[in-house]
Amino acid sequence: MTRQAPWPLAKCRICAPRCSLGLCVGLAVVFIANALSTSRAWALERGDFGWRIKESVGTRPLLVIWIREPDDTPTTELDRRKQHYEDLVFGRPGHAKSYPDLLRQLELSVVDYFRDASGGKFTWTRAGFLGPLSAAVKGKSDSDIARLALTAAASQGHVNFRKFDANRDGKITSNELTVLVISKNVGNAGGSANHFGGGGSFKIPGQDVTFAGGDAVAREGGAFAGFNHELFHTLGGIDLYGPWHGCLSFNEGLSLMTSTNFGPDDERILELDAWHKMLVGWIEPRLVAIGRPGQAQLAAQHLPLSAEPERKRPLLVYDERKGKSEFFLLEYRTPFRLGYDKNVVTSGLVIWHVAYSANGQPAKLTSERQNCKGAFVPVASVFVRGAPEWQQGISKAWTSVHGEIALRWMNRQDSGVRVKVAPHKPTDPIIAVSWSAPVPVAPSISKPGQRAQTGVTP
């Protein structure tokens, strides 16, 4: 469920006629002076720019159900695969973290991925692992497979689903349980999610409870990134890979929510984009109101938030006069073998361009690029702007070689802001960026209640 973002700016406009001009100006002066004296980003309010509108913090129980059509796969192979999934989802004990960096490998797990991506704010807890359970899943839709999995978990797996109904209302919601279904026979997409939301709940056979929680269906032998991609849908994530079957790839290799259709058991992985992290409340961006020059440092995604609480926060560049429905998110992305952004496809400043429609959701825009058939197709208004020509959805980061980067709005108008990236190497954990005031500088009137900040420093 998504609700409309409560925009403080809009509220201020409503109340503004009641304020005297002098009071408004006075408050604005106090706000700006305070901002400049502390050099700290103002706290956002929930809903601003979409921040925390799908907040997911704490933990959620995760039940894994592995379901398959019986075949001639030997028991020994099934046992090994089961152990593999157990480890891949919930983690494994070991010494790997105590090995030298040059030799150790990232020991992947779903639980660890979400813990890392959220900066420790969220993860899954083990509700159980069932399987392989038998069911006639061949030819079934993902939705049917999810129902078969729940049925098999209750009947063959003897799961008492009622115990997950924490508030005893007879309905298991997403906060109470999420199910990851693994099946060999999932649809062509390689996975899907959220089959039980919006009235599609499922009564668990033989148990006086209905399942309306989150569910993700992933392919047996599927890639690690695919498991995480589908599970993040249950938290409210949207696909950013461009139009489905639209032969127009967007944002590839820059977000977990782009295409993760990797090979079997593939361990390639990359981080979520800054927008999604903001959406679920895992990061709070540093606000940069267009108007004054500034500079900041940005930390690579593999650095822990605990070590870089400030520089891990992306920069959110917006124009007070335009409001909060369109903005840019700037983050530093670079591959690092021992982190969950190890397969990001580029190194440098990544600029996400976001626009919301009136209902606070990403808008549907017509692509600026043609697909493989020469057609312009609808795309979600959350995409990267790639170097060197500000191309929509092109996964090429900006670096110092690109000089001044002109930020342009969706209507292609120049924002006037010029961003520069300091020289860096892909191995650098931090990069520095700077931005200019618009040229010519547009007149700007600050109003009380607006959280304008300029000149962010780390």
């Binding site: 001639d72 695969r81 593999h84 030298p100 090979g263 058991d265």
Partner: protein, 429 residues
């Protein structure tokens, strides 16, 4: 004499097979196609000696390395807490157990180090001597315990040594000290080391370590990586003997089927060309206990042409469940092999030039890659390739058309069919 008998046996068997209309599967004799030519079964003690040219590396970092070598050579399961039976664990011991189908593994003789030695700029032989001496003197390792027959010489079957060094010796990274006057006397222990020894770098990848160790088991083993320094890398990911260090130190892949045959870890199913067949092939990580038959690769040869040239076909698919993870794609891998009279690969000119226009010679043991029968490529054949032709080294068509059944990369087993040219339309290539 033995080779002569083998060849006679082969001819008799092949002739009988052709004359009868019985199935084209024939039984192997030791030595045929190189099978069991350097058989290694059972277990062998492995001593790891870690020597270092003095530097300023911190003791905490050295402790990390020691933990890594301990775990990755001998396995975490060597000590508590035990690893669940079904969990994949990256270890040399586990690698050899899986690749040999349970026929061979290393046992722990010890891990000594880090020991100080002046090894900078030294060749493998010198590093070996210094490492053995340091292990005896500084490390206090008792070599005599491994002289099982008490003849004063520690032979290759009695102990193998892996030296890990913080310098990279030039040239070949393994040595055989079993030759006369080539032994290293162990100071103060009245015994000489006359075994085989490999030297690897501190940061060498898992596959590199295993490749050098395989040389200790089978000095006849052939490196299959081609000429990577001359833009002509071959067989990448398809054989341990083509392994090189990569950005992923944990990269691991199985041996090719011929080397497995050489040491007797697999017995191929041998078929004479001419009769159509459909057979199943299991993925490399699958235990032979699950299906011993489909674990055996298929060897196709022409009885009239003789046993010196043949094809080995196997199923390769990337799987996190075992040690064949480096596969870039999934499907049927065709190895083309030509052996000399000693049943060893020979050097043949490559059928294409490198990036500099040079024609390089390569061992006559390489993958033929989809879709165009490319020498040393790493694309496996799959159903989408349709029936494809097997060709001899001279480029002539064998008349055999091979088809791979549609499969999913996660499948543990695939089916493959081959026919003679009279029974199927001409395929690709």
């Amino acid at each position: 004499m033995r080779r002569c008998l083998t060849q006679i046996a082969f001819v008799v068997v092949a002739a009988l097979t052709l004359l009868a209309t019985a199935p084209s599967l024939i039984a192997l004799e030791r030595g045929m196609f190189g099978w069991r030519g350097a058989e290694v079964v059972g277990s062998r003690p492995l001593l790891v000696i870690w020597v270092r040219q003095p530097d300023d590396e911190s003791s905490s970092e050295l402790s990390k390395y020691k933990q890594y070598y301990q775990d990755v050579v001998f396995g975490q399961s060597a000590g508590p807490p035990s690893v669940p039976r079904n969990r994949f664990e990256l270890s040399v011991v586990g690698y050899y157990r899986e690749v040999s189908g349970g026929k061979f593994t290393w046992t722990r003789a010890g891990l000594v180090g880090p020991l100080i030695a002046q090894i900078k700029g030294k060749q493998v032989g010198e590093v070996a001597s210094l490492a053995l001496q340091a292990a005896a003197q500084e490390g206090g390792f008792d070599f005599r315990a491994f002289d099982a027959n008490r003849d004063g010489r520690i032979e290759p079957e009695e102990l193998a040594v892996l030296v890990i060094a913080n310098t990279q010796p030039n040239g070949r990274h393994w040595d055989d000290l079993s030759g006369v006057d080539h032994n290293v006397a162990i100071p103060g222990q009245s015994v000489a080391f006359a075994g085989r020894l490999a030297v690897v770098g501190e940061n060498d990848g898992f596959a590199t370590i295993n490749r050098e160790l395989f040389h200790l088991l089978a000095p006849e083993a052939v490196n299959l990586d081609g000429w990577p320094q001359k833009c002509f890398a071959l067989n990448g990911g398809r054989s341990l003997m083509a392994a090189i260090n990569t950005a992923n130190p944990g990269l691991t892949m199985h041996l090719d089927p011929w080397h497995k045959m050489l040491v007797g870890w697999i017995e191929p199913r041998v078929f004479v060309i001419g009769k159509p067949e459909t057979k199943k092939l299991a993925a490399q990580h699958v235990s032979p206990l699950s299906d011993s038959e489909s674990k055996r690769p298929i060897l196709l040869f022409d009885a009239l042409k003789g046993p010196s040239e043949f094809f080995l076909i196997e199923y390769r698919t990337p799987s996190a469940l075992g040690f064949d993870q480096a596969q870039v794609n999934s499907g049927l891998v065709v190895w083309q092999v030509e052996l000399n009279g000693s049943n060893r690969p020979i050097n043949v000119p490559a059928d294409r030039k490198n990036c500099k226009g040079e024609t390089l010679s390569v061992p006559s043991l390489f993958v033929r890659s989809a879709p165009n029968w490319q020498l040393g490529g790493n694309v496996a054949y799959w159903a989408g390739d349709g029936p494809f032709s097997l060709r001899w080294m001279d480029g002539k068509d064998t008349g055999v058309r091979v088809t791979v059944e549609r499969h999913d990369a996660v499948d543990w087993r695939i089916a493959v069919t081959w026919t003679s040219v009279s029974a199927a339309p001409a395929g690709q290539n």
